[in-house]
Structure formats: structure tokens, C-alpha cells
């Protein structure tokens, strides 16, 4: 067993505990520990990405309890990629927050570390109930982060967010325990095996559980009828928190991909691919409604929150196509959209970020182009063409409208872009650290644009790995055979 696999969980956990004990000490100490730990986390994530890049699936049995009864962490290409995306975004948000938006008090850094624990755990775990536990960890950290600071708007949006997620957790538990009731296991690989050999009489229960899971993950990912909590919550959070929340919808997308390729994938017998007929129309509706929301939004941050919804719709359309090329394109787009939404939400309005959103030479363009070429022109795919292309135009229109009202709002003197940003944030001076964080994120986006072929090779291999769940199940069996003795 490679012990590096548990580092993405231990590092944020220990840092968070340390930061709680350091509460009350000079803020500079807390900030530097938090940023240092996140930098380390990024290094660990990159190391794991390199390890996972050989195509093998690695497992880590917690407490050396063997699967299917013990809980395992699983590292494959997908989870490694998600870890890196999370760490980059978290580092940028923390650098941004360290310039003064982490107040009042000094608890924000500890809560961000707890959030990272939950997010990393959700990406790494190979056990369905453990996934629920990590969801709750990331949710309770996100509740606290969302409400951090004061304001009636935050309390209002927070109440909706908390209640809807608690209801979602109840549904998640029902689905998980129903699956346990008929299969007797919670390990994802073992579930995949058991679902494939399911007694036809039990199939309706398993199907119900599967669709319930889709509802829960759809709620997290903000798919069509379940996204109404998102714009208000994201728009009312403080800037670094909103930027960090860009990863939260991707956790939902990740779990959808994981569950419906591994457990209810091609080999699931009667229940094979049962979510796909739902995903395709839902993705397109999400895309369309997100675009309308972005056009209709009267506040910039609400508009950007709707762009998060748009990116979820685009991603899910790629997932619903369920081909290797489409999945590869989706994951390329996922990296791009997480970072770009983070940059946009974090900096309120940053001219460079706006120009990136859908314009040709940059990564958003590559992602969409690949997705369209993967979709082809047969049958239903035409709707994706219409929505995605009309969508890019709509996004451009919406953003240029808000850009023009923002920058040419008659306030007398010509003010530099930098100062304008900070006028809006209610600060007198340009804050170099905040710009540094946003520019850092944009540089990362530039990197995945310039290194697109390397990134695409990786996502291509990732999609291949996802679509052959046998390898995952095989890895679990071999692991038990070798380590169990």
C-alpha cells in the first residue's frame, strides 16, 4: 500500500485542527500555515497525479481492514485529476482571502481546510456510505463558510442552502441503505459485481435507489430542476468562499460519473446505463435555463453563478453522451470551467477572465469544440450544437452587457481596471495579493490551453479507464488477495 494516498485527507484534517488551536494568535501565522499546507496539498496532488498516470488503480485500506467490509480509498486517473483541480482552486482562494477578506475573526482558514478534507475524501473514497460521510463533512464546512461574516442576505440564502442539503442527505441515506438491503455491501466495486448478478425481483428496488442517488447528486451538481438554491447562495457568499464553491458542483458531477459508469454502467445487467436517458435531456435543460438566468440576471455575481449552472449543463451533456471522446472533452472542460468560475466569482469582475469565457484561442473554446466533435451530428446531438453555440453567443452578450454597464457607468473620472475592482469590493486600494491569486488561476488556464495536447492525452486515458470498470473491480480483487494475507 502506498501511504501517500491518505495524505490528501490527513493534511487538511491536521491543519484544520492545528488552526483551531491557534485561534487568537496573530492572523499572519494562521494565514501562512493555511497557505503552506495547501501548497503542500497541491504538491501531494501532483505527485498522486503522476503516480496514477501509469493507468493502474491503487487502493488504500483504512486501518488495514480489507474490502468489501473495510473502507478503501481508491486512486485512479479521475480522482487524481480532481484532487489537483481542487488544490489549485483552494490555493488561489486562500491567497486571495489572505489579503483581508477572511475576516471577521480567524476561523475561515480552519473551515476551508475542513472543506478540503470533505472534498478530497469524496473524490478518493471507494465506499458509498463513506461518500455520504465525506459529503456531510464538506457540507457542514460549506454551511459555516457560506454564513461566515454577517448580513441578512447571507442568513436568508444560507437557510435555503442548509435545508435543501439536509433533505438531500436524507434521500442519500435512503438510497444507500436500500442498496445495502438488497446487495449486502457498500463497497463500490463490490456493488458493481452484486448489481450485475441481481435477482430480477430485486431490480425495481435497486433502480429506485439508483434514481434517488441521481436526485441527490443532481442536487449537489445543480442540475435542472434542482439548481434554484445555487445563484443566491453563491452570490451572497464572500468572494474567496464563492470562488472555492466552484468545486462543489463538480463534486456532484464527479459522483454522477463515478456511480453511473462503475455501479450502474454497461455491465449492470438489467440496470445498465439506467441514468443515461435522464441525463441527456436534463443536461440540455440545465444548459438552456442557466443561459436564460445569465441573460436575465441584474447583478453581476448572480450572473456568474448562473454561468456555473451553464458549465454543469455542458459537462453533463458530455457525460450523457457516454463515449470516450465525449468524456475526455468533458473532463478537459471541467478543469477549465472550475478554474474560470473560481476566478470570476472570486474577483467580482476581472476583464481578463471575461475575455476568456468563450473566445477562440483559449481553453473554453477547445473544450466546447471537442465536445461538439465528440457529439457528432447524428440524431439528438443536434440539440447540443444549437444550445452550446447559441449559449456561447448568449454568454458573450450577457457578459458584455454587464461589462459595459460596469465599466462605463458614469461616475466621472476614468479609473483603472484594478481600482474599479476594488471600488466594487468596497476597498480603497488595489490589493496585489488578490490580483496575484486571480492571475495565478488565469495562468493555470493558459497552461492547460498551451499544454492542451498533454492534458487531453490524460483525459482521454481517464475516459478509457472510466469506461472499463472491470479494471476497477479487478484491482479490488487483486488488492484483497495480496494484502489480505
Amino acid at each position: 500500500m502506498n501511504h501517500l494516498l491518505i495524505a490528501p485527507l490527513l493534511l487538511p484534517l491536521l491543519t484544520a485542527v492545528l488552526l483551531i488551536f491557534l485561534s487568537g494568535r496573530p492572523l499572519v501565522l494562521i494565514r501562512s500555515i493555511s497557505i503552506l499546507a495547501t501548497t503542500l496539498l497541491l504538491a501531494v496532488a501532483i505527485a498522486l497525479l503522476q503516480i496514477a498516470n501509469d493507468g493502474q488503480i491503487r487502493l488504500y485500506a483504512l486501518g488495514n481492514w480489507m474490502p468489501p467490509f473495510g473502507i478503501v480509498l481508491v486512486l485512479d486517473r479521475l480522482s487524481a485529476l480532481m484532487l489537483v483541480v481542487t488544490a489549485v482552486l483552494a490555493l488561489a482562494s486562500l491567497i486571495y482571502a489572505a489579503r483581508g477578506t477572511d475576516g471577521p475573526g480567524d476561523k475561515l482558514h480552519a473551515m476551508v481546510q475542513f472543506l478540503l478534507l470533505g472534498v478530497n475524501g469524496a473524490f478518493l473514497t471507494g465506499d458509498l456510505f463513506n461518500l455520504f460521510v465525506f459529503f456531510e463533512v464538506l457540507l457542514i464546512a460549506s454551511y459555516a463558510l457560506l454564513l461566515h461574516g454577517r448580513g441578512a442576505e447571507r442568513a436568508r440564502a444560507g437557510l435555503h442552502y442548509v435545508v435543501i442539503n439536509l433533505a438531500g442527505s436524507a434521500l442519500f441515506l435512503i438510497a444507500v441503505s436500500a442498496l445495502y438491503g438488497i446487495t449486502g455491501t457498500l463497497n463500490m466495486a463490490d456493488l458493481a459485481v452484486k448489481i450485475a448478478q441481481l435477482d430480477p425481483a430485486d431490480a425495481p428496488i435497486a433502480a429506485t435507489a439508483a434514481v434517488l442517488l441521481l436526485v441527490v447528486f443532481g442536487l449537489k451538481a445543480a442540475i435542472a430542476p434542482l439548481y434554484f438554491w445555487l445563484p443566491r447562495a453563491y452570490a451572497s457568499a464572500s468572494a474567496p468562499v464563492a470562488a472555492l464553491f466552484a468545486i462543489m458542483t463538480k463534486v456532484g458531477v464527479y459522483t454522477i460519473v463515478r456511480t453511473y459508469t462503475l455501479i450502474f454502467g454497461d455491465s449492470a445487467g438489467e440496470l445498465a446505463n439506467l441514468a443515461l436517458p435522464w441525463l441527456w435531456p436534463l443536461a440540455l435543460i440545465t444548459l438552456a435555463l442557466g443561459l436564460l438566468g445569465a441573460l436575465a440576471a441584474r447583478e453581476l455575481r448572480i450572473q456568474i453563478a448562473y454561468l456555473v449552472v451553464v458549465s454543469v449543463g455542458t459537462l453533463l451533456a458530455g457525460v450523457a453522451l457516454n463515449t470516450e471522446a465525449a468524456l475526455a472533452a468533458s473532463f478537459y472542460y471541467l478543469i477549465h470551467s472550475t478554474w474560470i468560475c473560481g476566478a470570476l466569482l472570486g474577483s467580482l469582475f476581472f476583464i481578463a477572465a471575461v475575455s476568456v469565457i468563450g473566445l477562440p484561442p483559449l481553453s473554453g473554446f477547445i473544450g466546447k469544440l471537442l465536445l461538439l466533435s465528440a457529439a457528432g451530428t447524428q440524431g439528438n446531438a443536434i440539440w447540443l450544437w444549437v444550445l452550446l453555440l447559441a449559449g456561447s453567443l448568449t454568454t458573450l452578450m450577457a457578459l458584455s452587457r454587464s461589462g459595459s454597464t460596469f465599466f462605463w457607468r458614469g461616475e466621472g473620472d476614468v479609473v483603472s481596471v484594478e481600482n474599479r475592482i476594488n471600488v466594487d469590493a468596497g476597498k480603497p486600494m488595489a490589493q496585489k495579493g488578490e490580483l496575484l491569486a486571480v492571475i495565478g488561476l488565469l495562468l493555470c488556464i493558459l497552461m492547460i490551453t498551451l499544454g492542451a495536447s498533454a492534458v487531453l492525452d490524460y483525459t482521454q486515458a481517464l475516459a478509457q479507464q472510466l469506461l472499463s470498470p472491470e479494471a476497477y473491480i479487478q484491482a479490488m480483487h487483486e488488492f484483497t488477495a495480496i494484502e489480505g494475507n
Partner: protein, 131 residues
């Protein structure tokens, strides 16, 4: 016994959902609590209902060899986790609801007082030590 338990879960969940759809925060919290009771019972029952049988079988014990003679311990562990998490979340939600009432001046879930209704207490910003 199965029918009775199923009925109890059904009543708990339907009451929970009904209360969850109310417009005031207090019924919503009670609704979520009832819902989580129903869900917890459901998890517990997924290990099948058996009375008077042990959850742990020792190695040499042949009298308990069939699955009929022992009760599944895993759902009991799961339900324990779910209860703890649900309890913490309810506590958090209660504090949040109180804060929303203080900041918004009423206990409507949308933060707006109903038609023809005066705010219960005037909205006031929280003091520094209350955050």
C-alpha cells in the same frame, strides 16, 4: 412486525415532508427531524428484523451458523453514524434559524413577513460577539 415498522416509517416520513414544506423555520426543522427519524429506522430495518439474536458470531459457534440466527451489525453501525450527523446538523440549523430570525426580523423561510403581518421583532444587525 414488518407491516408495523413500514407503517411507522411511512407516517414519520410523510409528516416530515409535510412539515418540511411549511413556510416557518420551526416546523421545517421539526419536519427535517421527523424525516431523519424515518430514515434512521429505514437504515436499521435494512439489516432485516430479528429479535433476540446476537449481532456478533464467535468463530467456533456452530449453533449460529445460518444467517437466520444472527442480526446484521453493519446497519446498526451505519445508523449510529447517521444519528450523530443528523443531530449535529439539526443543532446547526436551529442556531441558523435563530440567527435568521434576529437578522431578518421574522421566521419565514424566505425571510419576508407574510401578507398583512407585522415583523415579530425589528430586524437588527448582530453584535460582534454574537457572530
Amino acid at each position: 412486525m414488518e407491516a408495523l415498522i413500514a407503517l411507522v416509517i411511512g407516517v414519520l416520513v410523510s409528516c416530515g415532508v409535510y412539515l418540511l414544506l411549511r413556510a416557518r423555520t420551526f416546523p421545517v426543522i421539526i419536519g427535517l427531524t421527523l424525516l431523519s427519524y424515518g430514515v434512521n429506522l429505514f437504515i436499521f430495518v435494512m439489516g432485516r428484523l430479528r429479535t433476540g439474536v446476537p449481532p456478533v458470531v464467535s468463530k467456533g459457534d456452530t449453533s449460529l451458523s445460518t444467517t437466520l440466527n444472527y442480526t446484521d451489525p453493519l446497519p446498526q453501525a451505519l445508523v449510529l453514524t447517521a444519528i450523530v450527523i443528523g443531530f449535529a446538523m439539526t443543532a446547526f440549523l436551529l442556531v441558523l434559524a435563530l440567527r435568521a430570525r434576529a437578522e431578518l426580523g421574522n421566521d419565514h423561510v424566505d425571510g419576508t413577513a407574510g401578507l398583512g403581518e407585522k415583523p415579530v421583532i425589528p430586524a437588527r444587525p448582530l453584535a460582534e460577539d454574537e457572530v
